[in-house]
Amino acid sequence: MENYLIAMAVSAGIYALMALGVNVIWGLAGMVNLGLVGFFAVGAYVSALLTLKLGLPIAVGMASGAVLTAAVGVAVALVTVRLRGDYLAIVTLGFAETIRIVASNTLWLTNGTDGISGIAGPYRGSLSPAAFNLTYLAIVTAIVAVTFVLAERLRASPFGRVLRAIRDDEQVAAIAGKHVALFKVKAFAIGAAALGLAGALYAHYTSYIAPDIFVPLLTLYIKLALLAGGLGNNRGAIVGAFAVVFLLESTRFVIPLVPGVSAVQGAALRELLIATALIVMLRYRPRGLIPERLPRIPVPPSTPPSVPPAAAASTKNYQPTA
């Protein structure tokens, strides 16, 4: 049971990393990316292949996974730079499916639908499974913590302000002197890097990847995590990721307790529960558990009164009698 909980914490951490990445693209810059599982897959495959086929150290593999996925992000962003909303969503969805189908058919490189097994994990051989799990949890936690700090800096910076401006009105942002296309490409690259790193972390943890892991459902889980936590908000991304993993896993235990439901029906019921959770969430807390807040900039104390001093004094002295 302990091992199971640790494994869930690791996967929640990986979800959180993905949600942080998507938050840059979708939450801040407002670009609907339905292809995030494709970036996740690129990072996983790059790191797995580099460590397995070239014998590179795991850390190098993971870093390369992040960098290469960022490069793919740049390519996708350049192709889609003029697309918005639904159009961008459908193209990115197509991108992710393309990655999955290419991975299924490029037998010489990815071993097709059989997948790649025996991917190295840090100290996997020399540790007990429990110790390995804990070590990996520590690594994932550290990476999520660092990414969170960096993402917070981005959000609070003038760079983040430009992204949020683009989210509201691209044309006015251009008039404000911002090179909109360049900012979009940068946001995509940064978000994709986090997604690729998450993919690499996943590959080295489970030691096995195959195309059928990288299905659109995973994209939706991350979208759900971000919506539940609060779009545009890094704290919310992490809280949402943990909430989604908790929801997914707890239903696994609850469903078998429902009498007269077969295993297959149970699986369907679980999807139903998750969908219901999303609808309830959007109905009652449309801005998520932790809504995005505007950064407050202190107003200098030497505020010139906008009402004449006499009037201000008289309002101050006014005492309601009721």
């Binding site: 981005l154 760079f159 401006a165 942002a173 008039i175 505007l294 900039i297």
Partner: protein, 256 residues
């Protein structure tokens, strides 16, 4: 030399000639009015000058430099900033942020500088905050600085629109109906702000349907009708011009 010079500008949309060879000269340190009936092509002219829509042909010279067909952010960076007719902006940014966004030369807009929190970026940010505060004080927006822009009243949105433009420290501002739908006292206030800006050395090109404001503010007025130049001169000259009266009021039917 005129600050802004537009020559023979044309632009069509699906066969409709929105601009059919428009010429325009805007002199520095003056308020030039641009008037004309609805559909005359005033806003299209603004779009072509500011880079939102590329013109089909013709040239736009700003300070002697050919800026025809440039990207809007490049045009903004040489000191030509416009506003939009329906107060557009960034509803989910605070008023402060709406102002700060228009500040130029902010190194913190580079992702790398943002990640390491460079001191240059922090220093520039505090300069911009000071400038934003000064502009907000001038426009009476201090009390709402940390409110989301979406919560402002219509009049405050118009003021914010002017404030944002000022943050960019432009040479020339193109204002698209700055007093449309604004109450008379705020209209006078906005007119006063515009006059003060020109006294400070700015130049203004103004689209407006409110003729009292045009009469009161503009040193020179250009009339467009059906995508072409119709007349120009002082407001008094134009108000006596029969072609202008016809364009606005229609032709008097001759009964014989």
């Amino acid at each position: 030399m005129a600050l802004l010079e537009v020559r023979e500008l044309t632009r069509s949309f699906y066969g409709i000639h929105a601009l059919g060879g428009v010429d325009l000269r805007v002199e520095a340190h003056r308020i030039t009015g641009l008037i004309g009936p609805n559909g005359a092509g005033k806003t299209t002219l603004f779009n072509c000058i500011s880079g939102v829509v590329p013109p089909d042909s013709g040239t736009v010279l700003f300070g002697g430099q050919d800026i025809t067909g440039w990207r809007p952010d490049r045009i903004a960076s040489v000191g030509l900033i416009r506003t939009f007719q329906i107060a557009r902006g960034f509803p989910r940014l605070s008023v402060y942020e709406n102002l700060l966004l228009y500040g130029d030369r902010q190194p913190g807009e580079r992702a790398s500088a943002a990640l390491v929190r460079s001191t240059a970026a922090l220093r520039r940010e505090s300069e911009l905050i000071d400038l934003a505060f000064a502009i907000a004080s001038r426009l009476n927006l201090v009390r709402v600085l940390n409110d989301p822009a979406s919560s402002l009243s219509g009049g405050q949105k118009k003021l914010l629109e002017i404030g944002r433009v000022l943050m960019a420290r432009p040479q020339l501002i193109l204002l698209d109906e700055p007093v449309a739908g604004v109450n008379p006292s705020l209209t006078r206030e906005i007119a006063g702000h515009l006059r003060a800006l020109v006294d400070d050395g700015l130049s203004v090109l103004l689209i407006e349907h409110h003729m009292d404001t045009i009469a009161q503010l503009c040193d020179h007025v250009v009339v467009l009708a059906e995508g072409k130049n119709l007349a120009e001169g002082s407001f008094d000259e134009l108000s006596r011009n029969e072609a202008v009266q016809e364009a606005y009021m229609g032709r008097k039917r001759r009964v014989s």
